[in-house]
Symmetry: C2
Subunit: 413 residues, 2 copies
């Protein structure tokens, strides 16, 4: 249970959070619209909004858009004050690092990309690498230096239980390095680490509003296989839950060699390197390629789509691995939707027959029916969007929340 005492302060926080969420979700709104969106009374809306305005978190928009037939008093829209805060978002991948600067309104301000190789972090300490990019980014937008409140990093792998480091990562030389803590101390800013799967879960809700309240498993298929889950629109827990190691769920005991060093993982059948390996009849115990060029993977899909036998076979094996993984997932957690994202999403139709077949062999799949499996063809947006929304939400609810008391709009004195 671990519930905690509730008082009038927690009431205000709850309702303030409600308002901010509504604003994040629906964009600029009038106070009246927000009141009905959140269910709060107009009176409370006024009070909360005057708090937010005096804190500088939101700003009133000038009604430059008189939409013709407006009868009564025109509504003043409010929205996030873009300059109230900035955040730096790193996305670390096996072969690329991307750093984005966003403002409090969620707008992308600037972006830097850097290629990574398996030896990058052997040559430079991860903290140093990140710090350098951050300097470069801030040099181009000096105004953001003062308002930068958070650094968030998307990583792959297994996090420490305290979320401050990595126990294992497919990105070489990253595990064990306390770069988040170091960077945090060097900059005097909160630096958070986010497992990719968790961000997939977060991002999926924002990609398709219809899924915002649903239970969704989002599967990334590409250089790795990852999964995040939401449960009726919520992500379990505060930490890095909602993330799974789906890609490293065992598919076949003692099976194909995975990049993680284990054998028989789903990833070892369904990630790009695995499909490639199978398409070219390389023994499945051969060491996985460190990185597969996007073109090569694309070409393989084309070959399979045009009927090439060995390519088709490779995608069938991938589908079978994912299918049995999903079938096993269903025994534990039964989502209403399964979203496939990443480069491999394009190959869903190649894999679907095997996926369907595998799900049919499970009790839950056959009783409850297979969930909707949908491809979302977008390699990075779910992760970026998830990272962005998670970070803005942290700023909303953590950084800007604990102000103890605020002066109300002057009570006539």
């Amino acid at each position: 249970m671990t519930r905690t005492v509730s008082d009038s302060d927690s009431v205000r926080r709850q309702n303030r959070g409600l308002v901010l969420s509504a604003l994040r979700m629906q964009g600029a709104q009038s106070r009246t619209a927000l009141a009905s969106l959140t269910g709060l009374s107009h009176a409370s809306m006024t009070a909360i909004m005057s708090d937010l305005l005096s804190q500088g978190l939101v700003a009133e928009l000038i009604a430059d858009r008189p939409d013709g037939r407006a009868r009564g008093r025109p509504a003043t829209f409010v929205n996030f004050a873009r300059n109230a805060a900035h955040a730096a978002l790193f996305e670390l991948d096996v072969n690329r690092a991307r750093l984005s600067l966003i403002d409090y309104g969620g707008v992308l301000v600037d972006r830097i990309e850097t290629d990574l190789t398996p030896t990058t972090f052997a040559g430079i300490a991860p903290c140093r690498f990140l710090s350098d990019r951050l300097d470069a980014l801030l040099a181009r937008t000096p105004a953001a230096q003062k308002t930068l409140r958070r650094v968030a990093i998307s990583v792959q792998g297994i996090l420490e239980r305290d979320g401050r480091g990595l126990r294992w990562s497919p990105i070489q030389h990253l595990a064990g390095a306390p770069f988040a803590t170091e960077l945090s101390e060097a900059r005097g800013l909160p630096v958070t680490l986010h497992k990719r799967g968790r961000l997939l879960a977060e991002g999926a809700r924002w990609l398709d509003p219809a899924l915002h309240e649903a239970s969704v498993a989002t599967v990334f298929v590409g250089s790795t296989v990852a999964m995040g889950v939401t449960f009726r629109g919520q992500i379990m827990g505060r930490g890095d839950e909602g993330a799974t190691e789906f890609g490293h769920m065992n598919h076949v005991p003692n099976g194909a060699l995975c990049r993680c060093g284990m054998r028989g993982c789903i990833e070892a059948y369904a990630a790009d390197y695995a499909v490639l390996r199978n398409a070219y009849s390389v023994p499945e115990t051969a060491p996985p390629a460190p990185a597969v060029p996007a073109q090569q993977y694309e070409m393989l899909m084309q070959r399979a789509e045009s009927g090439d036998r060995s390519a088709t076979h490779a995608f069938n094996l991938a589908g079978r691995a994912i299918g049995f993984g999903l079938s096993r997932l269903l025994a534990i957690y039964d989502p209403s939707h399964i979203l496939i994202v990443g480069p491999g999403a394009r190959a869903l139709e190649l894999m679907r027959p095997e996926i369907d077949q595998a799900i049919k062999t499970s009790l839950v799949g056959s009783i409850n029916g297979a969930p909707n499996i949908i491809a979302h063809r977008d390699e990075t947006e779910p992760i970026f969007k998830g990272l962005l929304m998670k970070t803005l939400n942290d700023i909303d609810q953590v950084d800007f929340a604990p102000l103890p008391s605020t002066e109300r709009a002057g009570t006539a004195g």
Copy 2:
């Protein structure tokens, strides 16, 4: 998200719930003790307690136990008023139905047991069956008739999404029958259906206080294989989440025939009938026995414990199935403890080597280390305890909660 507006009413409910939970967990307490247990101020404690007293939910105990060296004003202990409510709890099993009458204090008042056969519910409608037992029970304790507030039923199988019925159940002729709704209408009482796995999750927290805040997967091994999960002391969702179909997770494609009709389920290797089948070298595609006498299962364990080859082999196969199931579970959800309960708990040591072996082959198991696997030798208590606590909690928070306003202790007039 789906959060809702908070007001002073929700504050009171939250804190009231806190007090009741503390009382359920720790037993009779003084107001002062409850205040420090919940974190509420003494003043609030007085207010909440006078609410509860005037509603008749709790009663003050007469301090019949003057414990010697008590210095100041002696504390008056409060506890649940046992006669404030009663509940009837059905536990439906493949071969037994048990009905317990409990009071609001959680004390078992009376109990009726009935054997079931695969044809029981072919001969009598489930609603009728339940209603008859309930009449018999109430006839023996007429005082409970007026205060009976809820009927709760523990079942096995897959529930409808609305939780009002069963889609599938190993108990013959139970799926599809709307007995919960019928019984509810016939009696004018709320009747709730609970999946066994969910109750395992609920019950595990109460069996061992140390696990109350942990993430636990509780596995029942016996005539079926079931699992419930808690996450940092919480059970996901309001409905029947927290339950899984672990027993029907696929272990080997196209493998042994399961009672559910599918092939290769974990249950088809690890339930009592499966171990029996393997120990006697019956083909694994042979139809499962409808029910295995407890004695026969016990004997099998004894044989294995004393070294009998075929018996040992059968338990090894069971361990392997459970082990791979757990290894696959770990990829999705990583509990700190795994509790094995039910008749098969005694066989844990026979299965442990294979379980450990299987977990070692998974990435999460090898990075994070295997979770603590503990046997809890108690066939029915986790389920009963879970059903009891869940139902009492429902009475606390649902039945007794929505009273709109209560008179405070008279403000000097």
